[in-house]
Amino acid sequence: MSSIDLIVGPIHPALHEPERFVFKIDGEIVVDVEPRLGYVHRGIEKALSERTYIKDIYLVERVCGICNVAHTLTAAQAIEQAFGVEVPRRSKYLRTIVHELNRLHSHLLILGVVCELIGFDTLFMLFWRDREVIMDLIEMITGNRVMSAYNIIGGVRRNIGDFEVTQIKGVLSSLAKRVKQYKKVFMDDPTIRARCAGVGYLSRAKALALGAVGPTARGSGLELDVRVDEPYAAYDEVKYCAVIYNDGDVWARLMVRLDELLASMEVINECLDKMPSGPIRVPVPEAAPQSAEGVSVIEAPRGELIHHVYTKRDDDKPFRYRIRTPTYANIPAVCEMLKGCYIADIPAILASIDPCFSCTDRAALIDTNSGEKRIIDILSLARRSKK
């Protein structure tokens, strides 16, 4: 049997890890997948241990632009744990609010992208229009649309007042109505059902064994949500229930994100109501007061994110810094999902784990029989798949 290699990548979808996927295809069906990572390995882990802690916060922010708040929050928590610093309660609430706003914009982004890839451009435009109001809120609180530079070791950098609180509440209440409307569309629109339901199936057992995290795991019925399991920041004081869907397909993973939008808005509202007054920042020594180890696990928009730092006494640089990003953990799972799917479904399945689509994607089609090689990008692959 002659199978054909379909190479998608190398400059492909993920966060700080654009990948190349080599698909072995038989006719229209994918039989095997081989990922190749590391095209933009920037050596951040090494660079982190050569900069001071304050600079590190800004460097981890650049691991991934979309979930930058998640990275700074994790780094700040890990370093605070190693330093033995306790941050003020108000800053924990502020961190939670910005972290959830970050999740809102990230989820709206990927929902829009998936809609575009399955050929529903109207919904893509609507999602992205609604994302814009969240970006404005983030700019209002932190001073920049994307790179928030908000969390810092020992607390947060800016405070919010009554004006901001009413603004956030107003925006969220109108957004919640719209998200409910979109949820209805997702539930019964025939186009979305046809392209997403039953596509890219991942069973619960496989998700667990392959270490899937975040909405990918929760879409397969796996009860993994760090906000519930190991509450950090203010999550131990607010009500939050993990969103679980049992279908395990692309549709379930998108529905998890839609429901999480609503849940996140509730968390933000509750935080705004409960937020105590007080200081937002405590002074932190520049050099580590002790040789210790800090571990921080949080639920980033794409799933469980872990930072692991070793500090050395009287040194202002971390000794070893290790980051495990959520998309990295989802790679084995997405390879499993792709087996047995149609070529036309590849973009939707890849996008359903929410890798970062910030890079322009390229794919090479190599026909092993004729040796012919064509290079196309993933958007035209998506366009072909719509025909």
């Binding site: 990572l37 590391g38 390995h41 050596g43 882990e45 090494k46 744990q81 667990l208 064994a209 392959l210 270490g211 995290v213 796996l222 009860e223 993994l224 399991d229 190991e230 571990v295 696990v297 469980e304 872990i306 692991h308 070793y310 000794f319 070893r320 290790r322 495990r324 990295y328 953990a329 790679i331 084995p332």
Partner: protein, 149 residues
């Protein structure tokens, strides 16, 4: 719920006997720290898998060269039924950087073990495909970027 970690400590002690070098609960990390001999790492993970009834989620493996004559491997696990974070640590001397791969228990490690291999030179025995993951193909052999000398 609250005392689940005590049960885990007991069962681990029964399974591993003297290979278990240290085990204690770290309240500030809300995690159970397990220190084992490197020969027993496979058994320790297997035992934890059994304790959780197969409901074990492997978060990551992180390797660190702390400038001493050993390399520290840290396995982060999450036990679903016990809702407990377990951190398993082991030390490999730099003269003999071989350790048994745990791919058979937790297929999720397949990429993490490759990363530790290329960054620190730890050889995982029994790994189906121990190759470079992130580094370019023309990176020199026996150069490990995260090693300290």
């Amino acid at each position: 719920m609250v005392n689940d970690h005590l049960e885990v400590i007991d069962s681990l002690g029964n399974e591993l006997k003297e290979g278990l070098l240290d085990v204690r609960y770290l309240p500030e990390k809300r995690a159970l720290l397990v220190l084992v001999d490197k020969a027993l790492i496979f058994k320790a993970i297997e035992a934890l898998n059994k304790i959780s009834g197969g409901e074990m989620h492997l978060t990551t493996i992180s390797g660190a060269d702390l400038g001493e004559d050993y390399i520290e491997l840290t396995y982060f696990l999450w036990l679903l039924p016990q809702r407990l974070r377990v951190i398993v640590k082991t030390k490999l001397s730099k003269d003999d950087l071989r350790v048994q791969s745990i791919v058979n228990i937790a297929p999720a490690t397949v990429l993490y073990e490759r990363e530790v291999y290329e960054m620190l030179g730890v050889i995982f025995e029994g790994h189906p495909k121990l190759e470079r993951l992130f580094l370019p193909e023309d990176w020199p052999q026996n150069m490990y970027p995260l090693r300290r000398r």
